[in-house]
């Protein structure tokens, strides 16, 4: 096989893996949008916050130590213990559920029936708040996250492809793990929303708030639950991205990448988020590989958005979105 084609295949595979990670973030968006009609810009910062909290708990950092030191003149940093990964993840989940409750109690409950743009702005405010809170709680330096996921080149794929084509593919173990976890997460979410009582209630709320309320479903409970599930998805995405490239502010910017993913797939569709993520992941990697060198590189910055823009002109509701019907 010609070498270029092999390179392209490797790039495609890596693109698929990257796409899975985009899809993970996009999934959180879709969940909240479906259940409450809120376009949650803060999803990316939630992933950052979750990852920061996880690292902080694992390393036994004292929350707000910087602030305490500045106001009281003390010099404290660590509790002096290390928490094992699994326990830290559970504790972080508790924090995320608490966050979901607080968001619902203090923000979203007061904004029921407002226009979508107001809700969107509120989540941007929330994103800023969480970003500042995360930095104040745990410090703003770049942290490494290691919860024991395998990392580095997968030697089996490398050797097999070397024997077959005479050229070894470089695939990161972490990406493979991320793909598996993402697949499991999606299956779990589908089972949850289709076969459990709470899942059914969630779909009812998504369909029609008032009708759901009138048959006795508690909106407050459902919203807290949806935000918690979104927090859980954010935690998973945070762990994956954090293990890959360190826990830092740029983590919250992947949220923006999830937007074109959503647009391609359609805002209301879980399969759409996955397929959109894969298309964007493969598309931007292949484009950078084929066209990038000709125009100076770094096309990954905008390719996803332009692709989504062109796509939407032909199909405004996205791939799997509900058909937009307007009545006067």
């Amino acid at each position: 096989m010609p070498e270029q084609l092999l390179f392209a295949m490797e790039v495609t595979l890596n693109g698929l893996m990257a796409g899975v990670l985009y899809a993970l973030v996009a999934l959180g968006f879709v969940l909240i949008f479906k259940a409450s009609g809120i376009f949650n810009y803060a999803q990316g910062v939630m992933a950052l916050f979750a990852a920061l909290t996880l690292v902080g708990i694992m390393e036994g950092q004292i929350p707000f130590s910087h602030l305490i030191n500045a106001t009281l003149g003390t010099d404290i940093h660590h509790f002096g213990w290390h928490v094992p990964g699994i326990l830290a993840i559970v504790l972080t989940m508790v924090v995320m559920v608490g966050l979901a409750w607080a968001v619902n109690q203090f923000v979203m409950r007061h904004l029921v029936n407002q226009e979508p743009i107001i809700l969107f702005m509120a989540t941007i405010g929330l994103a800023y708040f969480l970003e500042g809170l995360g930095d104040i709680m745990w410090g703003s330096d770049i942290k490494t996250l290691d919860v024991g996921l395998p990392q580095g080149i997968n030697t089996w794929i490398d050797e097999t492809t070397f024997e077959a084509f005479g050229y070894g593919f470089f695939i990161d173990n972490l990406d493979i793990v991320a793909t598996v976890i993402a697949a499991l997460l999606v299956i779990a979410l589908v089972i949850f929303s289709q076969y459990t009582k709470q899942g059914r209630a969630m779909r009812a709320v998504a369909d029609d708030h008032q009708a759901a309320l009138s048959v006795g479903i508690s909106l407050n409970f459902i919203w807290v639950m949806v935000w918690s599930v979104a927090g859980f998805v954010a935690l998973v995405a945070g762990i994956m991205w954090g293990s890959k490239s360190g826990v830092q502010f740029s983590l919250s910017l992947i949220a923006l990448k999830a937007l074109p993913v959503l647009m391609l797939g359609g805002f209301t569709s879980i399969p759409g988020a996955i397929v959109g993520g894969l298309i964007i992941g493969v598309g931007e990697k292949l484009f950078e590989f084929a066209i990038g060198p000709m125009v100076g590189g770094a096309t990954e910055n905008w390719f996803a958005y332009v692709l989504a823009l062109i796509f939407l002109v032909f199909r405004p509701q996205g791939l799997f979105g509900e058909r937009i019907i307007e009545r006067v």
């Binding site: 509120a122 800023y128 500042g132 332009v306």
Partner: protein, 358 residues
């Protein structure tokens, strides 16, 4: 008592149609103009000009521009930073290519170039609506910033990749570059702000503005009663981008002097201007000013209190600052979703009756 129409007799149609029909409003407007034109230039120093006044004036132009698009025409845009970059780079290319032409003309032309680019990116708005459009305008934001980074022609092949404003003067007074006085910079921005606000106010209360608002309220219904959506949406994009481009040109040439595109005109800038119009009030020129003042003053105020008052480290204060900013935005949206302009409207209604209870 004093804030009412009674006793203020209008004898011509021109009088009846004026921008401020109430006497008190009219005098307040003249008073503000007088203070801004005749008192502030003598008091302004470098700190006040650079920390407060220049950003306020320039952001006010950008906010008016975005408010026309989002508040009056209902097309949500997240590409403001990119369009500001177009204005800045167009101004830079014009300034270096035609050094003998007056800077004022360059800034206006830069606005014109941005209007053309805005129309180009506004074309999809005919098919795409709401949040889908907002994300589509992100394409403009990221693509334009990337373009200005990657194509050396835009920054005249300078080694650092930055653009820096050469020294230019208006009526013999230096307004750009390191030697410009604070009051000169302030005055040129003020003139542009006045022009922008006057233009925007009169456009929005005329037939063009009514067409925009019809599209905003319901585009299909507007089309049925004879508003051409293509024309209305594209004029909104053009006028909005013109103002945003002028703001970008001033931001680069007068305020900063040297610009690195990814840093100055990134996505954060788009959100900042959007915040301004939401907090100030969608669909209100006064709201654009109020929002710009709020967003510009808040960090200055917080910094002075936290760093100057409590003596905290600057990085800690910076984190607390974004936290407070985020929190305030949420509180604001809960308390008054229609922004500062709505508070002002309510206050005016109260003033009309004051001091009587009914």
């Amino acid at each position: 008592m004093f804030y009412r129409e009674a006793g203020d007799f209008k004898t011509t149609y021109v009088d009846d149609n004026q921008t401020f029909p109430i006497k008190f409003d009219r005098y307040r407007y003249y008073a503000v103009l007088f203070v801004a034109l005749a008192i502030v230039p003598f008091l302004v120093n470098d700190y006040w000009a650079n920390a407060v006044l220049l950003p306020f004036l320039i952001y006010a132009i950008a906010a008016i521009g975005l408010n026309i698009l989002v508040g009056y025409c209902g097309q949500l845009s997240l590409g403001t930073g990119g369009f500001m970059a177009v204005g800045a780079y167009a101004c830079y290319k014009l300034m270096t290519a035609f050094p003998e032409v007056n800077i004022v003309i360059h800034v206006v032309l830069a606005g014109g170039v941005t209007a053309c680019v805005g129309v180009l990116f506004g074309l999809p708005s005919l098919r795409i609506k709401g949040f889908y459009l907002a994300v589509a305008t992100l394409a403009a934001q990221f693509f334009l910033v990337w373009l200005f980074n990657k194509v050396p022609w835009f920054y005249n092949h300078s080694a650092s990749g930055q653009i820096s404003a050469p020294e230019r003067s208006v009526f013999g007074i230096v307004v750009t570059g390191a030697n410009a006085d604070a009051w000169a910079k302030y005055m040129i921005c003020l003139v542009f702000v006045f022009g922008a606000a006057w233009l925007a106010r009169n456009l929005t209360r005329g037939s063009v503005g009514r067409r925009w608002m019809a599209i905003r309220d319901m585009d299909i219904a507007a089309e049925i009663i004879g508003v051409n959506p293509l024309k209305a949406k594209l004029t909104a994009f053009a006028v909005s981008s013109f103002f945003v481009g002028v703001a970008g040109a001033l931001f680069f040439s007068v305020y900063l002097g040297a610009v690195e595109v990814g840093e100055v005109f990134g996505i954060q800038k788009s959100f900042l201007v959007l915040f301004m119009i939401i907090i100030g009030g969608l669909g209100s020129i006064f709201g654009s000013f109020a929002g710009a003042a709020f967003i510009v003053l808040l960090p200055v105020f917080l910094k002075n209190v936290l760093v100057g008052g409590f003596g905290w480290a600057t990085d800690l204060a910076a984190h607390l600052e974004i936290m407070i900013l985020g929190g305030l935005i949420v509180v604001f949206l809960i308390a008054e979703p229609h922004g500062l302009a709505q508070l002002w409207r309510v206050a005016k209604e109260k003033l009309r009756l004051w001091p009587f209870p009914h």
